[in-house]
């Protein structure tokens, strides 16, 4: 036997379940008066710098049905590509932009719609720049471990073509699953948990 490394194991994940709203967006599901508002419900204020955009996300299961009980968290850099986090070492992010959002699917339509700003580019190890993207984390009933993916922007073709993360996707026909299509100021992003169009998820 060698010495013990004295490491712990990560706590096992369990599904967020059908009632995740009670804990994470209680006002959304009608439990009012405990917290003044739901955290992460809005990302931008008048002071936030950058190009305003709208994002519409839907999450589909393997039968093609839209999930009406999913919860998506978003994490993105500011317009300059800086994260509002103590672990950000490259500079100070826009104080009027936390970069983090939390959005439950609409219980009728399954749609998630939010306003944000287009993030700036962020470097990959070694200094090459990644294309602008929003990091997504998806939980719901039936999902045992939160799923990580990224939303890239359809009008950033040149940057997307150089992106070192997209470049890791061996099956090139899957790259479009990570690219939101632009129509006016609205980007639409459909996430498919399974099937022909299964979204690329990340082991990060």
């Amino acid at each position: 036997m060698a010495q013990d490394l004295n490491r712990l194991k990560e706590s096992a994940s369990q599904t967020a379940g059908p009632y995740v709203h009670i804990g994470l967006t209680p006002n959304f599901c009608g439990i009012e008066g405990i917290f003044p508002d739901d955290l992460g419900a809005s990302l931008v204020s008048d002071q936030t710098k950058g190009e305003r955009i709208s994002v519409v996300i839907r999450v589909f299961d393997g039968t093609g049905s839209v999930l009406k009980d999913a919860l998506v968290e978003t994490w993105q850099a500011d317009a300059e590509g800086l994260y509002n986090s103590p672990s950000e070492t490259r500079g100070a992010a826009d104080p009027a932009f936390s970069g983090w959002g939390r959005f439950p699917s609409d219980m009728e339509s399954g749609e998630i719609r939010f306003e944000t700003i287009k993030p700036g580019p962020v470097p990959f190890p070694g200094g090459r720049m990644m294309a602008p993207h929003i990091n997504l984390w998806i939980v719901a009933r039936g999902i045992n471990l939160g799923l990580a993916t990224r939303l890239y922007f359809g009008d950033e073709e040149a940057a997307n073509a150089e992106d070192p993360v997209l470049a890791r996707i061996e099956h090139r026909n899957r790259v479009p699953t990570l690219i939101a299509s632009r129509d006016g100021d609205i980007y639409t992003f459909d996430i498919h948990l399974q099937g022909e169009m299964e979204t690329v998820f990340f082991d990060i």
């Binding site: 194991k9 706590s11 209680p26 299961d61 962020v122 999902i143 990060i204």
Partner: protein, 246 residues
């Protein structure tokens, strides 16, 4: 360890043999909600290493007391009174300070305050079912609540969830984000539950079972359960990896 550098390293690879797989047919909803292609890995960038922070200013006085935070003045939630406490640690066994911990649960009868919960157990007018807190400098958290009830759920024809509290925890990096559930020492229902059974390793399940701690119990008031949560560890930056250029 003193002289800590800023936390800027990447995180340890997640042990996917320890975590539940996506497809777990005995938990039926996972069948159409589980990705079937392998997730793609890449070295951590600022997008993974950074994460949001929450100040203590967001917390209200009763956010960590589910017995009172939805109760009428002078009343409190019905059920066995308990205190849940513990630490948020990382895989290096270091405390994770100043992170948001959120929790939600059914009432003492096993009923959630949610329009989709039609279980015939009654709602408790004095119980909302959610709370939150932020860890202190040593990673400690605690809250008061009532013991949640077990409840039946549509999966098999007679599946029941053991008594449990749902937890959502932030780390310092967005890839430390974790949602899990806490179970109670000695509950025979734990080992019959298909959701618990999604976890392949018995030791990983035992890591979600809170221990009854009579020493932390408040006499004539509330029993205490200890529940530590472990988030992914961060790689030391002592020897910077310069594989890709530079």
């Amino acid at each position: 360890m003193k002289n800590q550098r800023p936390e800027t390293g990447g995180f340890f690879q997640r042990d996917r043999a320890w975590q539940p797989p996506a497809l777990t047919p005995l938990y039926k909803t996972s069948v159409v909600r589980s990705p079937q292609k392998a997730p793609i890995a890449f070295p951590h960038t600022p997008s993974e290493i950074t994460g949001p922070t929450f100040g203590h200013g967001i917390l209200g006085a009763l956010d960590n007391d589910l017995t009172l935070n939805h109760a009428r003045s002078g009343e409190s939630a019905i059920g066995p009174r308990i205190i849940v406490y513990g630490r948020v640690l990382d895989e290096n066994a270091r405390p994770v300070p100043n992170v948001l911990v959120e929790f939600w649960q059914a009432n003492a009868g096993g009923r959630y305050r949610h329009k989709k919960d039609g279980y015939l157990a009654p709602l408790d007018p004095n119980f909302g079912g959610c709370g939150r807190t932020i860890t202190d400098e040593d990673g400690n958290y605690s809250f008061r609540t009532i013991m949640p009830g077990a409840y039946p759920w549509p999966n098999g024809i007679n599946d029941w969830r053991p008594a449990h509290i749902h937890f959502s925890v932030f780390g310092h990096g967005f890839v430390q984000r974790l949602i899990t559930q806490m179970y109670f020492e000695g509950d025979p229902m734990i080992w019959k539950c298909p959701i618990v059974g999604t976890i392949p390793d018995r030791r990983a399940i035992e890591g979600l079972i809170a221990a009854l701690d009579m020493e932390a119990t408040v006499p004539m008031d509330a029993r205490a359960y200890k529940f530590d949560i472990v988030l992914r560890g961060r790689r030391s930056t002592l020897f910077e990896n310069r594989m890709e250029g530079n």
